[in-house]
């Protein structure tokens, strides 16, 4: 379109400059596509194709091990809402586990890093070192975090119960085998692990708040709390909404902590949704059911993200 209209107007002097600039991006018409080609190949195979393929799978009774994969329409979805279905009750139990985890971990992961960021945003020697300390655990994989905290929280030989005992508190808390302790064992290590990530994002946001606002607040006689409340918080609003959103999305796909720390215990009450989905599809090979579940989980996540943006995204001065 753009090319043909340009060609039509080629005679007029106004477009001469445009043409020259188009020519200056020379190297042939295909150059941009050649530059894009390697990425688009990978993107097409592993993002674009599966985006449609996944929906297709969810509409079939797709047993990986069987040759026939009959079309069943929305049955994989409706099945999950029937009380006598094969996967429904376990799936919703795992969704509840992920929901509980999200509701308990997100408030901590939105507020604590904000406090840490405000402290680390002060000018003082050694700031970079402290920042590194709090960011450090985040560079480790969830598998390391999982096996480590499984050990620290071991009810019999773990260091957590050892120190609780030393403080005169009960030293036989079943962190990894009973509720509500299981939730603490999932949320606590997760907060410890990812706190630094949110802190770094907050720190970048704090840099963008102009010094002048703080100076003005000071001139008006505001104390530290007042300037935090009336300068920092409003200035950081978009960043807080962003952190809230990515933390919810991240918690919604929690997997490793559940697999390694509580190992789903007690019974399967702390088995996360994504663990159940992956097991159904990639261990029991019921891929149609698993694909349908993955879309239901995604729908939840998308709706929550939209709600967050709708109600908090806009500035309300």
């Amino acid at each position: 379109m753009a090319v043909s209209s340009q060609r039509a107007a080629a005679g007029t002097p106004g477009t001469a400059a445009k043409q020259r600039s188009a020519a200056s991006h020379h190297g042939g018409r295909f150059t941009p596509y050649l530059f894009l080609a390697p990425y688009l190949v990978v993107f097409g195979i592993f993002v674009l194709a599966p985006a449609g393929y996944g929906l297709w799978i969810s509409l079939h009774s797709w047993d990986y091990l069987l040759p026939g994969k009959p079309f069943v329409g929305l049955e994989n979805y409706t099945e999950l809402f029937s009380s006598v279905s094969r996967y429904g009750p376990d799936f919703w139990e795992s969704m509840r586990a992920t929901g509980t985890f999200t509701v308990t971990s997100v408030p901590l992961l939105v507020t604590i890093p904000l406090g840490v960021a405000v402290v680390l945003n002060q000018q003082f020697p050694g700031r970079a070192l402290f920042r590194a300390v709090y960011f450090g655990p985040y560079v480790l994989g969830v598998a390391v975090i999982g096996v480590l905290w499984r050990f620290l929280l071991d009810p019999n030989v773990g260091v957590m119960n050892f120190y609780l005992g030393k403080l005169g508190l009960p030293d036989d808390i079943p962190w990894t085998t009973a509720l509500p302790w299981g939730w603490v064992s999932l949320v606590g290590p997760t907060v410890w692990w990812t706190l630094g990530f949110n802190t770094v994002i907050y720190l970048a946001g704090l840099q963008d708040i102009s010094r002048e606002y703080y100076d003005a607040a000071k001139t008006d006689g505001a104390n530290a709390w007042q300037s935090f409340r009336h300068v920092t918080l409003p200035g950081l609003r978009p960043v807080i909404v962003f952190v809230l959103t990515i933390t919810v999305l991240g918690s919604g796909i929690m997997f490793g902590q559940s697999l390694l720390i509580t190992q789903g215990a007690p019974s399967f009450e702390t088995r996360s949704a994504i663990w159940f989905i992956a097991d159904t599809g990639l261990r029991q090979f019921q891929m149609g059911d698993a694909a349908a579940m993955s879309y239901i989980l995604s729908l939840f996540l998308i709706v929550i993200a939209i709600v967050i943006f709708k109600f908090l995204g806009r500035r309300v001065d």
Partner: protein, 292 residues
Amino acid sequence: MSRAETSGRAFLREQFQSKKGTKVIVSYALLILLSLLYIAPLLWMLSTSLKTNSDAVQWPLSWFPEQISTEGYSTILDPAASQPVIRWFVNSLVAATAHAGLVLIVAAPAGYALARMHFRGSRLIFATLVATLFIPPVTFLMPNYLIVDSLGWLDTLWAIVVPGAAGAFGVFFLRQFFTSLPVELEEAALVDGANRFQIFMRIILPLSKPALATLAVLSFLTNWNDFLWPVYVLFSKPNLTLQPGLAILQDAYNTNYPIVMAGGIIASIPVLILFLLAQRYVVEGVARSGLK
């Protein structure tokens, strides 16, 4: 460096002499105490990895091994060990390095085209990339398993290296950086008769080393730490990477914590070293990825 140190010392002297001195000391003490508490779990992992099994569960627990023991390490680093940790380590290293390289190879030219070239379909491509960012990754799990299977990549490192490079993050990240470079250099080179490819290779890439390094480091870390995907697409023991390997170790030695902690240390060392060396890149990359 030394200048920062002197000003730091001057700062401290000033603080000590002022009335606020005590407050500063208390704040520092508190901050240091909290920081030590914060890294205590990692120190405990290290200390336990150097204990014997009986020492590790000996009540009362001690922060220091009674006698430094490398039993945990030697059990799993034995080439003939039932859990081939060395093999897993090499697999992880190969996969994460190859992945970081692949990300740069595909994302850099694509990011450059989107930053600097005007062509038919550019807006559509850009919009498509943005749109896919909103698809929750969990929906890719089943279809990508089948796609990787049909490529014959199940239970191979290809499955770990390639699919992740399709993410649009690297393209956006580099496009953003290329856009910020002054366009005059390229125009001068064009006048001198250089073509796009030469400009990209000789001007853009050398100018973009910090951005390329940041993306490479972040890609390496992500790939090294990836857990769910390798747990399901790799299944024979010699083909595993370290992260699913740790889950196997936990299963196999569920009461022998020094061995499991030694595995954790081995899986942590490369990323901790990388973090210490490239801290600025990592932290700035994360901050920028957040705020675009």
